[in-house]
Symmetry: C2
Subunit: 188 residues, 2 copies
C-alpha cells in the first residue's frame, strides 16, 4: 500500500478553522478554503465530504480545543479562584481573533441541529468543569455564595461571549481588560 505526502488532516482543518472564524460559513468560498488549506480541491471533497461537513468538523475541532484550553487554564492554578481569573485573562488576551463558537452561534442560532449538538456537548463540559472550580472557590471563601455555581458558570460563559463580541467590534485591549476585571469583580 503506497502512502504519499498525505497532507496532515488536522493541519488542513486548522487552516479551515482560520478561514471560517474570520468569514463565517456563508462568507467563505471553497476557493478560499482550498487556498488556505493548501490542498487540491479534490482532496478537500475526498477527505471532508462537502463544505458543510467541513464546517461542522471545523467547529467540532475548534470547540474541543477551546474547551480543553479553558478547562486546563481553569485547573492550572492551585487556588480555584485564580484558575477562574486565569480563564478570563486568557480570553482577554486571545480576543483579537474571532471565536468560531460565537460566530457559529450568531450565524446559525439553533437552526442546524448538528451544530446545536456540538455546542451542547462542549458547553456542558465547560460548564461542569467551571461549576466544580466555582464550588471550590466558594468553599475557599473567595467568591460569592449567594448565587449557585450553575448561575455563576453561566454568567462567566456569557461574560466570555460578551468580551469576544466587544473585541470583534473593535474594543481596545484596555477596554477588554476592564471587562475582564468587571466580570471577575461581579462574582467576588
Amino acid at each position: 500500500m503506497a502512502r504519499n505526502k498525505e497532507f496532515d488532516r488536522d493541519d488542513a482543518l486548522d487552516a479551515a478553522i482560520g478561514v471560517f472564524r474570520e468569514h463565517g460559513f456563508e462568507g467563505t468560498s471553497t476557493d478560499m478554503l482550498v487556498r488556505a488549506m493548501k490542498i487540491g480541491r479534490q482532496s478537500l471533497y475526498d477527505t471532508f465530504g462537502d463544505k458543510w461537513k467541513l464546517y461542522c468538523l471545523a467547529v467540532e475541532r475548534y470547540s474541543i480545543a477551546e474547551t480543553r484550553a479553558h478547562i486546563a487554564t481553569l485547573r492550572g492554578e492551585p487556588r480555584a479562584v485564580d484558575g477562574i481569573r486565569a480563564m478570563i485573562g486568557r480570553v482577554v488576551e486571545d480576543a483579537q481573533r474571532a471565536c468560531l463558537g460565537v460566530g457559529s452561534i450568531c450565524e446559525f442560532g439553533e437552526s442546524r441541529q448538528e451544530l446545536s449538538a456540538l455546542r451542547q456537548t462542549a458547553g456542558l463540559q465547560l460548564k461542569t468543569a467551571a461549576e466544580e472550580r466555582i464550588r471550590k472557590a466558594q468553599a475557599d471563601g473567595d467568591i460569592a455564595v449567594d448565587a449557585t455555581a450553575g448561575e455563576i458558570a453561566n454568567f462567566l460563559i456569557a461574560g466570555i461571549a460578551g468580551i469576544r463580541v466587544a473585541a470583534r467590534g473593535g474594543a481596545s485591549r484596555d477596554d477588554l481588560r476592564s471587562l475582564g476585571r468587571m466580570t471577575l469583580r461581579a462574582i467576588a
Copy 2:
C-alpha cells in the same frame, strides 16, 4: 406628478431587518428580501441601490431604533438604578429574536468601515446615556463607586451582548433572567 401605491420605505426596511437579523448578510438572498419586503425586485434596486446598501440602511435603522429604545428604558424610571435594571430586563425579554447589531459585528468585525462607523455612532450614544444614569445611580448610592461610569457602561453593554449570544445559542428564559440578575448584581 403621479404618485402610486408607493410602498412605505420604512416598512420595507423593517421587513429587510427581519430577514437580515435572522440570516445575516451572506445568508440572505435578494429573493428572500423581495418576498419579505413585498415589493418588486426593481423597486428594491431603485429605492435602496443594491443588497449591500440595503443592509447598511437596515443596520443603521435597527441601531437607531435599538439605541433609542435602550435610552428610553434607561430614562423611563425616576430612580436611575431602576432604569438600568429595566434596560437589562428589556434585553432579557426580547432576546428570542436575534440582534442585528451583534450579528453584523460577528459577521464582519471591523472589515467594513461603513458598518464600523454606524456602530461607533450608536455605541457612543448608548454609552453616553448609560454613563449619565450610572453616575446618577452612584450618587444615589445604588451602585458601586469603585469602578468608573465608563467601565460600568462598557460592562453593561458587553453583558447585553453576552445575554443575546446566550439566547441565540438556545439558553432558556430562566437562564437569561439569571444572567440579567447576575449582571445587575455585579454592579451593585
